[in-house]
Symmetry: C3
Amino acid sequence: MALYQKTLEVNTSPKSFLDVTRNVQAIISKSGLGNGICNIFIKHTSASLVIQENYDPSVRQDFETIFAKLVPEDFPYVHSMEGKDDMPAHIRSALTSTSETVPIVSGKLSLGTWQGIYLWEHRDQSHNRKLVVSIMGENGF
Amino acid sequence: MALYQKTLEVNTSPKSFLDVTRNVQAIISKSGLGNGICNIFIKHTSASLVIQENYDPSVRQDFETIFAKLVPEDFPYVHSMEGKDDMPAHIRSALTSTSETVPIVSGKLSLGTWQGIYLWEHRDQSHNRKLVVSIMGENGF
Amino acid sequence: MALYQKTLEVNTSPKSFLDVTRNVQAIISKSGLGNGICNIFIKHTSASLVIQENYDPSVRQDFETIFAKLVPEDFPYVHSMEGKDDMPAHIRSALTSTSETVPIVSGKLSLGTWQGIYLWEHRDQSHNRKLVVSIMGENGF
Protein backbone atom coordinates (compact mmCIF):
# COMPACT_ATOMS: atom_id res chain seq x y z
CA MET A 1 0.00 0.00 0.00
CA ALA A 2 1.40 3.40 -0.95
CA LEU A 3 0.49 7.07 -0.49
CA TYR A 4 0.65 9.87 -3.04
CA GLN A 5 -0.33 13.42 -2.12
CA LYS A 6 -0.55 16.56 -4.20
CA THR A 7 -1.97 20.07 -3.82
CA LEU A 8 -4.10 21.28 -6.70
CA GLU A 9 -4.55 25.01 -7.29
CA VAL A 10 -7.37 26.30 -9.47
CA ASN A 11 -8.92 29.67 -10.31
CA THR A 12 -12.68 29.91 -10.00
CA SER A 13 -15.32 32.16 -11.54
CA PRO A 14 -17.88 33.96 -9.33
CA LYS A 15 -20.70 31.69 -8.11
CA SER A 16 -20.01 28.86 -10.48
CA PHE A 17 -19.05 25.21 -10.78
CA LEU A 18 -15.59 24.17 -11.92
CA ASP A 19 -15.15 20.59 -13.15
CA VAL A 20 -11.97 19.21 -11.52
CA THR A 21 -12.48 15.56 -12.51
CA ARG A 22 -9.65 15.61 -15.07
CA ASN A 23 -7.25 17.36 -12.69
CA VAL A 24 -7.88 14.72 -10.02
CA GLN A 25 -7.59 11.87 -12.56
CA ALA A 26 -4.27 13.31 -13.80
CA ILE A 27 -2.85 13.11 -10.26
CA ILE A 28 -4.03 9.49 -9.92
CA SER A 29 -2.42 8.60 -13.27
CA LYS A 30 0.84 10.23 -12.18
CA SER A 31 0.79 8.28 -8.88
CA GLY A 32 0.97 4.93 -10.68
CA LEU A 33 -1.43 3.49 -8.09
CA GLY A 34 -3.95 0.97 -9.39
CA ASN A 35 -6.66 0.24 -6.81
CA GLY A 36 -7.51 2.20 -3.69
CA ILE A 37 -9.17 5.41 -2.62
CA CYS A 38 -8.78 9.08 -3.51
CA ASN A 39 -9.57 11.74 -0.93
CA ILE A 40 -10.24 15.27 -2.15
CA PHE A 41 -10.19 18.04 0.47
CA ILE A 42 -10.91 21.73 -0.09
CA LYS A 43 -8.99 24.13 2.18
CA HIS A 44 -11.71 26.80 2.22
CA THR A 45 -14.98 27.55 3.99
CA SER A 46 -16.74 29.53 1.25
CA ALA A 47 -16.23 27.12 -1.66
CA SER A 48 -17.05 23.41 -1.54
CA LEU A 49 -17.16 20.07 -3.33
CA VAL A 50 -20.12 18.46 -5.06
CA ILE A 51 -20.15 15.20 -7.06
CA GLN A 52 -22.94 15.78 -9.53
CA GLU A 53 -24.40 15.28 -12.97
CA ASN A 54 -21.80 16.17 -15.64
CA TYR A 55 -24.00 16.27 -18.72
CA ASP A 56 -26.62 19.03 -18.79
CA PRO A 57 -25.18 22.40 -17.59
CA SER A 58 -28.69 23.57 -16.61
CA VAL A 59 -28.40 21.25 -13.59
CA ARG A 60 -25.73 23.54 -12.14
CA GLN A 61 -27.86 26.59 -12.94
CA ASP A 62 -30.77 25.14 -10.94
CA PHE A 63 -28.39 24.36 -8.05
CA GLU A 64 -27.47 28.04 -7.90
CA THR A 65 -31.16 29.10 -7.94
CA ILE A 66 -32.28 26.67 -5.23
CA PHE A 67 -29.33 27.37 -2.92
CA ALA A 68 -29.89 31.13 -3.26
CA LYS A 69 -33.44 30.46 -2.09
CA LEU A 70 -32.44 28.12 0.78
CA VAL A 71 -29.72 30.44 2.06
CA PRO A 72 -30.77 34.00 1.17
CA GLU A 73 -28.24 36.83 0.99
CA ASP A 74 -30.88 39.26 2.12
CA PHE A 75 -30.95 38.17 5.75
CA PRO A 76 -29.85 39.91 8.98
CA TYR A 77 -26.64 37.90 9.48
CA VAL A 78 -24.48 38.93 12.45
CA HIS A 79 -21.34 38.05 10.49
CA SER A 80 -21.64 40.57 7.65
CA MET A 81 -18.36 42.48 7.56
CA GLU A 82 -16.98 40.52 4.59
CA GLY A 83 -19.94 41.24 2.30
CA LYS A 84 -23.46 39.93 1.99
CA ASP A 85 -22.36 36.89 -0.04
CA ASP A 86 -19.91 35.70 2.67
CA MET A 87 -22.12 34.18 5.37
CA PRO A 88 -24.36 32.41 2.79
CA ALA A 89 -21.14 31.03 1.24
CA HIS A 90 -20.17 29.44 4.59
CA ILE A 91 -23.60 27.85 5.01
CA ARG A 92 -23.70 26.60 1.41
CA SER A 93 -20.29 25.00 2.02
CA ALA A 94 -21.54 23.20 5.12
CA LEU A 95 -24.66 21.97 3.26
CA THR A 96 -22.45 20.38 0.58
CA SER A 97 -18.96 18.83 1.11
CA THR A 98 -15.52 19.82 2.35
CA SER A 99 -14.14 16.31 1.76
CA GLU A 100 -15.11 13.51 -0.62
CA THR A 101 -13.53 10.07 -0.92
CA VAL A 102 -13.86 8.27 -4.26
CA PRO A 103 -12.75 4.69 -5.06
CA ILE A 104 -9.99 4.06 -7.62
CA VAL A 105 -10.30 0.92 -9.73
CA SER A 106 -7.56 -0.05 -12.23
CA GLY A 107 -6.04 3.43 -12.07
CA LYS A 108 -9.29 5.30 -12.76
CA LEU A 109 -11.74 7.20 -10.55
CA SER A 110 -14.66 4.79 -10.20
CA LEU A 111 -17.35 7.40 -10.86
CA GLY A 112 -20.80 6.67 -12.27
CA THR A 113 -21.38 7.50 -15.96
CA TRP A 114 -23.02 10.84 -15.16
CA GLN A 115 -20.83 11.87 -12.23
CA GLY A 116 -18.27 14.66 -12.27
CA ILE A 117 -16.32 16.18 -9.35
CA TYR A 118 -17.03 19.90 -9.05
CA LEU A 119 -15.59 22.72 -7.02
CA TRP A 120 -18.46 25.10 -6.29
CA GLU A 121 -17.39 28.71 -5.78
CA HIS A 122 -19.94 30.37 -3.49
CA ARG A 123 -18.46 33.87 -3.43
CA ASP A 124 -19.30 36.77 -5.76
CA GLN A 125 -15.71 37.02 -6.99
CA SER A 126 -13.06 34.81 -8.61
CA HIS A 127 -10.69 33.11 -6.19
CA ASN A 128 -7.58 30.98 -6.20
CA ARG A 129 -8.61 27.77 -4.41
CA LYS A 130 -6.49 24.94 -3.04
CA LEU A 131 -7.47 21.28 -2.92
CA VAL A 132 -5.38 18.48 -1.39
CA VAL A 133 -5.64 15.17 -3.25
CA SER A 134 -4.52 12.13 -1.20
CA ILE A 135 -4.33 8.75 -2.89
CA MET A 136 -3.85 5.49 -1.00
CA GLY A 137 -3.64 2.28 -2.92
CA GLU A 138 -1.76 -0.64 -4.35
CA ASN A 139 1.04 -0.20 -6.87
CA GLY A 140 0.39 -1.18 -10.48
CA PHE A 141 -2.72 -2.98 -11.80
CA MET B 1 -2.15 -2.76 5.43
CA ALA B 2 -4.40 -4.35 2.82
CA LEU B 3 -7.17 -3.26 0.45
CA TYR B 4 -10.42 -5.05 -0.33
CA GLN B 5 -12.89 -3.61 -2.82
CA LYS B 6 -16.32 -4.78 -3.90
CA THR B 7 -19.25 -3.39 -5.87
CA LEU B 8 -22.65 -3.77 -4.23
CA GLU B 9 -25.80 -3.73 -6.35
CA VAL B 10 -29.20 -3.15 -4.77
CA ASN B 11 -32.74 -2.49 -5.96
CA THR B 12 -34.53 0.47 -4.42
CA SER B 13 -38.17 1.40 -3.94
CA PRO B 14 -39.46 4.84 -5.03
CA LYS B 15 -38.54 7.67 -2.65
CA SER B 16 -37.48 5.47 0.22
CA PHE B 17 -34.62 4.44 2.46
CA LEU B 18 -32.86 1.10 2.06
CA ASP B 19 -30.78 -0.15 4.99
CA VAL B 20 -27.46 -1.40 3.57
CA THR B 21 -25.63 -1.81 6.90
CA ARG B 22 -25.70 -5.62 6.74
CA ASN B 23 -24.55 -5.68 3.10
CA VAL B 24 -21.55 -3.48 3.95
CA GLN B 25 -20.76 -5.51 7.10
CA ALA B 26 -20.87 -8.75 5.05
CA ILE B 27 -18.18 -7.35 2.72
CA ILE B 28 -16.01 -6.37 5.69
CA SER B 29 -16.40 -9.85 7.20
CA LYS B 30 -15.42 -11.43 3.87
CA SER B 31 -12.33 -9.19 3.66
CA GLY B 32 -10.85 -10.64 6.83
CA LEU B 33 -9.58 -7.17 7.75
CA GLY B 34 -9.67 -6.28 11.42
CA ASN B 35 -9.07 -2.57 12.01
CA GLY B 36 -9.19 0.22 9.49
CA ILE B 37 -11.68 2.27 7.49
CA CYS B 38 -14.57 1.46 5.16
CA ASN B 39 -15.43 3.89 2.38
CA ILE B 40 -18.88 3.65 0.82
CA PHE B 41 -19.40 5.48 -2.47
CA ILE B 42 -22.65 5.72 -4.46
CA LYS B 43 -22.22 5.94 -8.25
CA HIS B 44 -25.37 8.03 -8.80
CA THR B 45 -26.50 11.64 -8.60
CA SER B 46 -30.18 11.12 -7.76
CA ALA B 47 -29.78 8.69 -4.85
CA SER B 48 -27.48 9.26 -1.88
CA LEU B 49 -26.14 8.00 1.44
CA VAL B 50 -27.31 8.93 4.94
CA ILE B 51 -26.10 7.49 8.25
CA GLN B 52 -29.13 7.87 10.46
CA GLU B 53 -31.30 6.55 13.25
CA ASN B 54 -32.11 2.88 12.66
CA TYR B 55 -34.86 2.37 15.21
CA ASP B 56 -38.07 4.31 14.61
CA PRO B 57 -39.14 4.17 10.91
CA SER B 58 -41.08 7.44 11.34
CA VAL B 59 -37.70 9.23 11.34
CA ARG B 60 -37.28 8.36 7.65
CA GLN B 61 -40.87 9.44 6.94
CA ASP B 62 -40.15 12.87 8.44
CA PHE B 63 -36.96 13.11 6.36
CA GLU B 64 -39.04 12.64 3.22
CA THR B 65 -41.54 15.33 4.31
CA ILE B 66 -38.93 17.93 5.24
CA PHE B 67 -36.80 17.39 2.13
CA ALA B 68 -39.89 17.67 -0.10
CA LYS B 69 -40.48 21.05 1.57
CA LEU B 70 -36.83 22.21 1.31
CA VAL B 71 -36.49 21.17 -2.33
CA PRO B 72 -39.96 21.45 -3.89
CA GLU B 73 -40.87 19.55 -7.07
CA ASP B 74 -43.24 22.32 -8.03
CA PHE B 75 -40.55 24.83 -9.03
CA PRO B 76 -39.56 26.29 -12.45
CA TYR B 77 -36.36 24.21 -12.88
CA VAL B 78 -34.49 24.72 -16.16
CA HIS B 79 -33.43 21.05 -16.12
CA SER B 80 -36.86 19.40 -16.34
CA MET B 81 -36.70 17.01 -19.29
CA GLU B 82 -36.26 13.92 -17.09
CA GLY B 83 -39.38 14.52 -14.99
CA LYS B 84 -40.27 16.85 -12.14
CA ASP B 85 -38.69 14.56 -9.52
CA ASP B 86 -35.26 14.59 -11.25
CA MET B 87 -33.79 18.01 -10.42
CA PRO B 88 -34.96 17.82 -6.77
CA ALA B 89 -33.30 14.37 -6.62
CA HIS B 90 -29.96 15.90 -7.65
CA ILE B 91 -30.22 18.64 -5.03
CA ARG B 92 -31.30 16.22 -2.28
CA SER B 93 -28.24 14.10 -3.16
CA ALA B 94 -25.90 17.09 -2.81
CA LEU B 95 -27.49 18.04 0.54
CA THR B 96 -26.77 14.55 1.92
CA SER B 97 -23.75 12.33 1.01
CA THR B 98 -22.19 10.69 -2.04
CA SER B 99 -19.36 9.18 0.07
CA GLU B 100 -19.12 8.18 3.73
CA THR B 101 -16.10 6.72 5.52
CA VAL B 102 -16.76 4.63 8.63
CA PRO B 103 -14.15 3.17 11.02
CA ILE B 104 -13.77 -0.61 11.37
CA VAL B 105 -12.81 -1.91 14.81
CA SER B 106 -12.18 -5.65 15.37
CA GLY B 107 -13.81 -6.54 12.07
CA LYS B 108 -17.02 -4.59 12.71
CA LEU B 109 -18.35 -1.23 11.47
CA SER B 110 -17.84 1.05 14.46
CA LEU B 111 -21.31 2.63 14.29
CA GLY B 112 -23.16 4.16 17.23
CA THR B 113 -25.97 2.08 18.77
CA TRP B 114 -28.66 3.92 16.81
CA GLN B 115 -26.82 4.36 13.53
CA GLY B 116 -27.60 2.55 10.29
CA ILE B 117 -26.20 3.16 6.80
CA TYR B 118 -29.00 4.00 4.37
CA LEU B 119 -29.23 4.42 0.62
CA TRP B 120 -31.88 7.09 0.02
CA GLU B 121 -33.64 6.75 -3.34
CA HIS B 122 -34.79 10.24 -4.38
CA ARG B 123 -36.51 9.31 -7.65
CA ASP B 124 -40.20 8.41 -8.12
CA GLN B 125 -39.34 4.95 -9.45
CA SER B 126 -37.42 1.85 -8.39
CA HIS B 127 -33.82 1.73 -9.58
CA ASN B 128 -30.86 -0.61 -9.62
CA ARG B 129 -28.12 1.27 -7.72
CA LYS B 130 -24.41 0.58 -7.46
CA LEU B 131 -22.21 1.27 -4.43
CA VAL B 132 -18.45 0.71 -4.25
CA VAL B 133 -17.22 -0.47 -0.85
CA SER B 134 -13.47 0.03 -0.27
CA ILE B 135 -11.90 -1.35 2.87
CA MET B 136 -8.37 -0.51 3.98
CA GLY B 137 -7.01 -2.06 7.10
CA GLU B 138 -4.84 -4.48 8.96
CA ASN B 139 -5.15 -8.24 8.51
CA GLY B 140 -6.71 -10.25 11.33
CA PHE B 141 -7.59 -8.97 14.82
CA MET C 1 1.69 2.43 5.76
CA ALA C 2 0.34 2.23 9.32
CA LEU C 3 -2.99 2.65 11.12
CA TYR C 4 -3.68 4.43 14.40
CA GLN C 5 -7.17 4.56 15.87
CA LYS C 6 -8.53 6.30 18.92
CA THR C 7 -11.94 7.13 20.39
CA LEU C 8 -12.40 10.72 21.52
CA GLU C 9 -15.03 11.58 24.13
CA VAL C 10 -16.22 15.13 24.62
CA ASN C 11 -18.98 16.93 26.50
CA THR C 12 -21.10 19.35 24.52
CA SER C 13 -23.22 22.37 25.43
CA PRO C 14 -26.82 22.66 24.19
CA LYS C 15 -27.11 23.70 20.52
CA SER C 16 -23.54 24.82 20.12
CA PHE C 17 -20.28 24.25 18.31
CA LEU C 18 -17.32 22.59 20.01
CA ASP C 19 -13.90 23.05 18.40
CA VAL C 20 -12.20 19.62 18.34
CA THR C 21 -9.28 20.56 16.06
CA ARG C 22 -6.71 20.38 18.87
CA ASN C 23 -8.06 17.06 20.16
CA VAL C 24 -7.75 15.52 16.70
CA GLN C 25 -4.27 17.03 16.17
CA ALA C 26 -3.14 15.62 19.53
CA ILE C 27 -4.10 12.11 18.37
CA ILE C 28 -2.17 12.59 15.10
CA SER C 29 0.89 13.79 17.02
CA LYS C 30 0.69 10.77 19.31
CA SER C 31 0.45 8.43 16.30
CA GLY C 32 3.87 9.47 15.00
CA LEU C 33 2.50 9.29 11.45
CA GLY C 34 3.78 11.90 9.04
CA ASN C 35 1.77 11.97 5.81
CA GLY C 36 -1.60 10.42 5.16
CA ILE C 37 -5.26 10.91 5.94
CA CYS C 38 -7.30 11.39 9.11
CA ASN C 39 -10.90 10.19 9.21
CA ILE C 40 -13.18 11.62 11.88
CA PHE C 41 -16.47 9.82 12.49
CA ILE C 42 -19.22 10.82 14.91
CA LYS C 43 -21.18 7.94 16.45
CA HIS C 44 -24.43 9.90 16.80
CA THR C 45 -27.40 10.98 14.71
CA SER C 46 -28.32 14.21 16.48
CA ALA C 47 -24.88 15.84 16.54
CA SER C 48 -22.62 16.23 13.52
CA LEU C 49 -19.33 17.47 12.08
CA VAL C 50 -18.69 20.75 10.26
CA ILE C 51 -15.34 22.09 9.03
CA GLN C 52 -15.85 25.83 9.17
CA GLU C 53 -14.46 29.28 9.78
CA ASN C 54 -12.57 29.38 13.08
CA TYR C 55 -12.14 33.09 13.51
CA ASP C 56 -15.34 35.07 14.06
CA PRO C 57 -17.71 33.32 16.54
CA SER C 58 -20.69 35.13 14.98
CA VAL C 59 -20.38 32.73 12.02
CA ARG C 60 -21.51 29.87 14.29
CA GLN C 61 -24.34 32.03 15.65
CA ASP C 62 -25.63 32.62 12.10
CA PHE C 63 -25.39 28.88 11.40
CA GLU C 64 -27.72 28.23 14.32
CA THR C 65 -30.21 30.88 13.11
CA ILE C 66 -30.32 29.69 9.51
CA PHE C 67 -30.58 25.99 10.39
CA ALA C 68 -33.42 26.73 12.84
CA LYS C 69 -35.19 28.40 9.91
CA LEU C 70 -34.43 25.60 7.40
CA VAL C 71 -35.48 22.82 9.80
CA PRO C 72 -38.13 24.30 12.11
CA GLU C 73 -38.91 22.73 15.49
CA ASP C 74 -42.48 23.86 15.20
CA PHE C 75 -43.54 21.30 12.58
CA PRO C 76 -45.90 18.28 12.76
CA TYR C 77 -43.16 15.61 12.84
CA VAL C 78 -44.37 12.01 13.18
CA HIS C 79 -41.28 11.14 15.24
CA SER C 80 -41.84 13.45 18.22
CA MET C 81 -41.66 11.24 21.32
CA GLU C 82 -38.10 12.35 22.19
CA GLY C 83 -38.90 16.07 22.26
CA LYS C 84 -39.43 18.73 19.63
CA ASP C 85 -35.68 19.31 19.16
CA ASP C 86 -35.02 15.62 18.31
CA MET C 87 -36.29 15.21 14.74
CA PRO C 88 -34.76 18.57 13.63
CA ALA C 89 -31.47 17.37 15.16
CA HIS C 90 -31.53 14.25 12.92
CA ILE C 91 -32.18 16.33 9.81
CA ARG C 92 -29.54 18.92 10.69
CA SER C 93 -27.06 16.04 11.10
CA ALA C 94 -27.88 14.66 7.65
CA LEU C 95 -27.52 18.15 6.11
CA THR C 96 -24.00 18.44 7.52
CA SER C 97 -21.50 15.56 8.05
CA THR C 98 -21.21 12.29 9.95
CA SER C 99 -17.71 11.63 8.56
CA GLU C 100 -14.95 13.93 7.32
CA THR C 101 -11.55 12.91 5.97
CA VAL C 102 -8.74 15.46 6.22
CA PRO C 103 -5.21 15.14 4.76
CA ILE C 104 -2.17 15.00 7.07
CA VAL C 105 1.02 16.63 5.80
CA SER C 106 4.25 16.45 7.86
CA GLY C 107 2.37 15.35 10.96
CA LYS C 108 -0.19 18.19 10.85
CA LEU C 109 -3.84 18.41 9.76
CA SER C 110 -3.63 20.13 6.39
CA LEU C 111 -6.45 22.58 7.07
CA GLY C 112 -6.83 25.98 5.44
CA THR C 113 -5.88 29.04 7.53
CA TRP C 114 -9.48 29.71 8.55
CA GLN C 115 -10.67 26.14 8.97
CA GLY C 116 -11.48 24.43 12.26
CA ILE C 117 -13.11 21.04 12.88
CA TYR C 118 -16.31 21.45 14.89
CA LEU C 119 -18.70 19.08 16.57
CA TRP C 120 -22.14 20.65 16.30
CA GLU C 121 -24.53 19.63 19.09
CA HIS C 122 -28.08 19.86 17.71
CA ARG C 123 -29.96 18.87 20.88
CA ASP C 124 -31.30 21.20 23.57
CA GLN C 125 -29.18 19.55 26.26
CA SER C 126 -25.55 18.77 26.97
CA HIS C 127 -24.38 15.33 25.85
CA ASN C 128 -21.36 13.09 26.06
CA ARG C 129 -20.39 12.45 22.43
CA LYS C 130 -18.01 9.91 20.93
CA LEU C 131 -15.86 10.40 17.84
CA VAL C 132 -13.61 7.77 16.29
CA VAL C 133 -10.39 9.15 14.81
CA SER C 134 -8.66 6.83 12.30
CA ILE C 135 -5.27 7.80 10.92
CA MET C 136 -3.62 6.02 8.00
CA GLY C 137 -0.22 7.13 6.86
CA GLU C 138 3.48 6.73 6.59
CA ASN C 139 5.75 6.58 9.62
CA GLY C 140 7.92 9.56 10.45
CA PHE C 141 8.50 12.60 8.22
